[in-house]
């Protein structure tokens, strides 16, 4: 008798499986239509690095060499000279070798002025490995193209359509949503 019970159990299990599979057929695909529809990258994620310039087009970078110093892969090369007009330094060269970069974003954390930041651009596959050695012009270009970027010092910043650089609203900041919720709850309690 137990044999028939076992067979019945097996038949029921297979039927359940078939039903589950058949339900899946009607569901929309869970995959992304990638090359045609770009996925939305969250603002706080290390996809690529870029140099940010001020609104007037001058470099944010003060050439302090902090990033060059902390870089574990030693892929950042900076050459600088004294500023002839005032104090400080100006950049002559800022090279970043993305072939050997390991995207640890230590440079972003070390930067005192949030000049080097993480951006969401990620399509950088090329056929020639030499093309992945970026110079200052290219890093600046990436910064100009970026709509939104992140650095630990300033948080998430974004560029308005008019070209102004503003701090992103709190719900886009890391942990900002949780703080907003906490505030809202506290407000209700008070």
């Amino acid at each position: 008798m137990s044999l028939f019970a076992e067979v019945w159990e097996a038949v029921k299990a297979v039927a359940t499986g078939l039903e589950t599979v058949h339900k899946r057929v009607r569901q929309p695909p869970a995959t992304e239509f990638y090359p045609y529809k770009k996925p939305e990258i969250p603002p706080v994620s290390v996809q690529f690095l870029a140099l940010i310039q001020n609104e007037d087009g001058s470099d944010r970078c003060v050439a302090c060499l902090q990033c060059e110093r902390v870089c574990p892969s030693q892929v950042i090369t900076i050459e600088r000279k004294r500023n002839p007009e005032g104090k400080g330094f100006v950049l002559e060269r800022f090279d970043l070798d993305f072939v050997n970069c390991m995207y640890c974003a230590n440079c972003v954390e070390a930067c005192p002025v949030s000049a080097i930041v993480t951006v969401g651009a990620f399509e950088h596959a090329v056929y020639d490995v030499n093309l992945l050695k970026a110079d200052k012009a290219y890093l600046d270009h990436l910064g100009r193209e970026a709509k939104i970027w992140y650095s630990p010092k300033f948080g998430v910043e974004m560029r308005t359509p008019e070209g102004k650089i503003v701090k992103a609203p709190p719900e886009m900041q890391p942990g900002g949503l949780a703080e907003l919720l906490k505030e809202a709850e506290g407000g209700e309690g008070a």
Binding site: V25, F33, K37, L131, D135
Partner: protein
């Protein structure tokens, strides 16, 4: 130092042929797949209906030259039909598995990827047909041919409408039992000759599985023959006019269903080519057209085994005829359509099972064959014999 190219300058999209997947047109996609089915129908009508009818009508088959011409034409037509079946079933399988797994499946070549297989076939044609150094060259080349020929020979025996068949064998059932064993040959020889451990393991598994499941399959087929009192397909189908065989011979039907899935080597019985365990099993070292032949044979069998199931258990070409004479050409068209629709439904069920169940373990597989299906098939044979005696007495 060279400058990195700007991201706006190098937007490389995948190639697409005449169809933009970003703007799907469901009407066009349905039309493409409906055209596939129509092409299959036309090919079946040509190969099984028109050419044999013409040759029989004019009595050309009696002369040696006419017979040779008939054989040559039918060989070409059957090869085209086999290619068409594989072409359609591969893309249907990929689309269906995609939908089940919440993907989209092929989509770039043709409407909803309908022409994907054509391009795959072109790729396989262009590839080098490579044989490893340690392979037994003669047998390595012979194996895909044997596998394909076994699938090809099975196509001869299948009738699609009354009088629409290539060869009316009076031992049709025994013939398909005999010929389907040939497929096991090719698989075992292919795995054995390639000098590869994965191939050898695949050949072991394939040999054990195919030989084991051949036994219940043959007994299930023979129980239908016993019940019908004939081994001829046309008579078996005619005998089902009152009641389809699936009702009185339900046990044999279940055995045939399970054993034919095992013969197809599709999940849950895909141990001979289990990718996650033994690379690709018996066709690990095959490339180019040799690999394509294995593939072609597999999908032709996916068409033929449900076809035999429909003939033996689901009344073949039975369906409403709207007052047409069953022997007329129009009725033949309609009946072959009924047959193809039934086969299509069963292929869908086979794919559904394939998409659902996980793989068996080796010893479970053998247990199921020898301890489960073999007694069940013998019981089915006894039921068939008893019913036959009962029907003759009453």
């Amino acid at each position: 130092m060279s400058r990195m190219p700007l991201s706006t300058e190098r937007r490389v999209y995948p190639r697409r042929v005449g169809y933009d997947p970003t703007r799907p047109r469901p009407g066009l996609e349905r039309t493409a797949y409906a055209l596939f089915f129509t092409a299959l129908w036309v090919m079946v009508v040509l190969a099984y209906g028109v050419v044999p009818s013409v040759f029989r009508h004019y009595g050309w088959m009696k002369t040696p030259l006419g017979f040779a011409a008939f054989a040559a034409i039918e060989a070409v037509l059957a090869f085209l039909l086999a290619s068409l079946v594989a072409l359609i079933l591969i893309v249907v399988l990929r689309k269906y598995l995609g939908k089940v797994q919440e993907r989209v499946g092929p989509m770039h070549y043709g409407p909803a990827g309908a022409f994907q297989t054509v391009f795959d076939a072109l790729k396989l044609l262009a590839k080098e047909d490579f044989a490893p150094k340690r392979a037994d060259w003669l047998i390595f080349r012979l194996a895909p041919a044997i596998v394909f020929v076994s699938a090809f020979l099975l196509m001869v025996a299948i009738p699609v409408a009354p009088g629409w068949l290539i060869a009316d064998l009076d031992v049709g059932l025994l013939y398909i039992v005999a010929v389907s064993t040939l497929g096991a040959y090719g698989v075992v020889l292919g795995g054995l000759s390639q000098g590869n451990k994965w191939g050898l393991l695949g050949a072991f598994r394939a040999g054990a599985q195919l030989v084991s499941y051949e036994v219940p399959l043959a007994i299930a087929l023979l129980s239908v023959g016993v019940f019908a009192g004939s081994l001829r397909f046309t008579e078996i189908v005619e005998q089902q006019y009152g009641l389809w065989n699936v009702v009185p011979l339900f046990l044999s039907f279940v055995v045939y269903l399970v054993a034919s899935i095992a013969e197809l080597k599709s999940t849950p019985f895909d141990l001979p080519e289990a990718e996650s365990e033994i690379i690709a099993g018996y066709n690990t070292e095959y490339s180019g057209m040799s690999f394509a032949f294995f593939f072609l044979a597999e999908f032709v069998e996916l068409f033929l085994l449900p076809g035999f199931m429909v003939l033996l258990f689901f009344g073949g070409w039975h369906g409403p005829l709207f007052g047409l004479d069953p022997q007329s050409f129009a009725a033949g068209l309609l009946q072959s359509l009924y047959f193809l629709v039934k086969v299509a439904v069963w292929i869908w069920i086979f794919l559904w099972i394939r998409a659902t169940l996980p793989r068996f373990r080796d010893d479970q597989l053998m247990d199921l064959a020898w301890k489960g299906l073999l007694p069940l098939s013998l019981a089915g044979l006894m039921v068939a014999a008893l019913l036959r005696i009962f029907l003759e007495v009453v």
